[in-house]
Symmetry: C2
Subunit: 345 residues, 2 copies
DNA sequence: CATGCGAGTGTTATCGCTCACAACCATATC
DNA sequence: GATATGGTTGTGAGCGATAACACTCGCATG
């Protein structure tokens, strides 16, 4: 187990003060010190003061390894995040961490370039050895579900993943991607568009799948023809490429892009080709990344509340740890209307 | 100490197998199991096999709390990151984590909305209690330096901060912001621009300070007049505002924006005002955020290698832990020339 | 053949903390 | 005044690992 290999670095540091030292200085037993530290009620105010003074004087800090050893609770939650640069919402991580912190947990972060069985196994192995009390998986890849299943039996796991059925050991939470796609598509339909093309994200990503499904479903519900989706990754470069092709080979009435980067590439390609947005074609994105309000033209898009997502994920994980029932209701996104959409020509 | 409050949640779990159990099953002593686990050389191959088989059979995993208790090494590095949404390079965090992981450490992440003395103290208190062997501070705020100094005496700390002198207990590392600003400014000068305005980021951020200093120094070195900088935050919204004012009240020959978001806002404002970029005014940004190649026009900007930065930060921290000499050489950025810059009119 | 050595293994102490329980004291109760 | 009661404190036993040391071999060495 390479990751658990003994850490051979490090210089020796002098032994920091232990509870015992505090106790001696305060003239009490170590147990009394422990009680003060743990806010045990039955400690005389005067004694408490003495202990606190001794703690301050020595600069004592509780050793959490020793504590974890005896309590069997590490106070650590693991977070595994995909390290793909195209998945960027730092805000999810921040929200995850601050929610965990507020609940008295600390967060151990691990990143993974891909979610192969071996990689995932190694990470969970690591978290298990660390005594993590639960894990949040931030990786909206389809492959993740099956990969982590065996580990979800060993400790509570919440995955940030759209469109997964909740199981007994499997706790997905996400922004409702399908709804977001429906909102975008519905809006375009309301504007009179009848030829709404979807630039589809990589289908091994949950989010991309769900956005595709939502777009398709909304069109079908409205009785509008469903054109063939155009496959893409998540990049502006690919959006640009597609935009150029569309401008050359015939424009649809509107384009719903799987994310804002793709939309940005489309906008650029249309601009270069002399295609007017929204005059000739309307464009909608997804994510509401910083700056999308200042694209040319400002982008109509679907906003996801990543911080709320993070908080909810931790809330679910804590509930799972406590064996309480979980609420898997996805978080609703919101359509942000800007200048890139207009009435059908 | 609220963050160290006992974690009161959690259901009881059955006691996982310990070394003792493995030892009994394998018919050896627990010490032999320990030797196998730590790759001690003096274990007979046959014995090792037996132990490994027992480990596999029981699903044994080493308890890192117990290990940390006796070795006095937690194998944990702390990372404090500012939770400001305008500071977005997830890639730094990812690089930090993977470099730490590769060195056999795990990463405990904490985020902070601001770097007040109390907040920072609490975080370091937490890391110290956790037994973290070192800390990386990702928060390029000027205030950080003094705030963390007292803690830097207690454990090795590396800060990602530009333009700080390295001290004995203070180990800054960063991309060379000043150089980046110089590269951008120099390029504009070479294009013939003689009126190069700087839209300056918040001056309590190191990066913003250094970019300002670099811009100014390069102009002075070239004997070009230094106009008054325009103050801004980091947002596209503010860039837009400034762009409108400039278009109304008189355009400079070129604008060097403190980051790409500001540049994006400028571009949008100029476009709306019918100002041609780079025909009427050249624009340079900083960061090379995803998509900046597809702005209208594509943005000339300064690229920072955040992943390299993260790796180097961990390298320095490990060196500091080992008491080895550190290399504080900043990482050079690179100018990426695109369509938003052209010869002076 | 006694001695030394190193490989392989076991025994014991210890890390710093919490838990369970015992002990003590002062007050309340009968 | 003896007994219960409860707040306050101390004692001792682990938690699960590593470190230090002791022991037992087998083999080379003199």
């Amino acid at each position: 187990m390479p990751d658990d290999a003994p850490v051979t670095r490090g210089r020796k540091r002098p032994r920091p003060p232990a509870m015992h030292d505090v106790a001696r200085l305060a003239g009490v037993s170590h147990q009394t010190v422990s009680r003060v530290l743990n806010d045990h009620p039955n400690v005389r105010a005067e004694t408490r003061e003495k202990v606190l003074a001794a703690i301050a004087e020595l600069g004592y800090r509780r050793n959490s390894a020793a504590r974890a050893l005896v309590t069997r609770r590490s106070g650590v939650l693991g977070v595994v995040m995909i390290s793909a640069p195209e998945f960027g919402p730092t805000s999810t991580i921040i929200a995850l961490e601050s929610a965990a912190h507020a609940a008295g947990y600390s967060v151990s972060l691990t990143t993974l370039p891909n979610f192969s069985v071996e990689q995932v196994a190694r990470v969970f192995e690591h978290f298990l050895a660390l005594g993590a009390e639960g894990v949040v998986v931030v990786a909206p890849l389809s492959s993740v579900a099956e990969t982590i299943r065996p580990f979800a039996l060993q400790l509570p796991v919440v995955t940030i993943a759209a469109g997964q059925p909740a199981g007994q050991e499997f706790h997905p939470i996400s922004v409702d991607q399908q709804l977001g796609a429906r909102l975008a598509t519905r809006y375009l339909i309301e504007l009179g568009h009848r030829e709404i093309v979807h630039v589809r994200g990589p289908q091994d990503w949950f989010d991309a799948q769900q956005r595709y499904v939502g777009w398709r479903a909304e069109l079908e519900d409205a009785g509008v023809a469903v054109p063939e989706p155009i496959d893409a990754d998540w990049s502006a470069a690919r959006g640009f490429e597609i935009g150029r092709e569309l401008a050359r080979e015939g424009l649809p009435s509107a384009v719903f892009a799987a994310n804002d980067q793709l939309a940005l590439g489309l906008l650029r390609a249309f601009f270069e080709a002399g295609v007017s947005v929204p005059g000739d074609v309307s464009v909608v994105g997804f994510d509401d990344i910083p700056g999308s309000a200042y694209f040319s033209p400002p982008l109509t898009t679907v906003r996801q509340e990543f911080d709320r997502l993070g908080r909810k994920a931790i809330g679910m994980l804590l509930a799972a740890i406590d064996g309480e029932p979980l609420d898997h209701t996805p978080i609703p996104p919101r359509l942000v209307v800007r200048g890139s959409t207009g009435a059908a020509r």
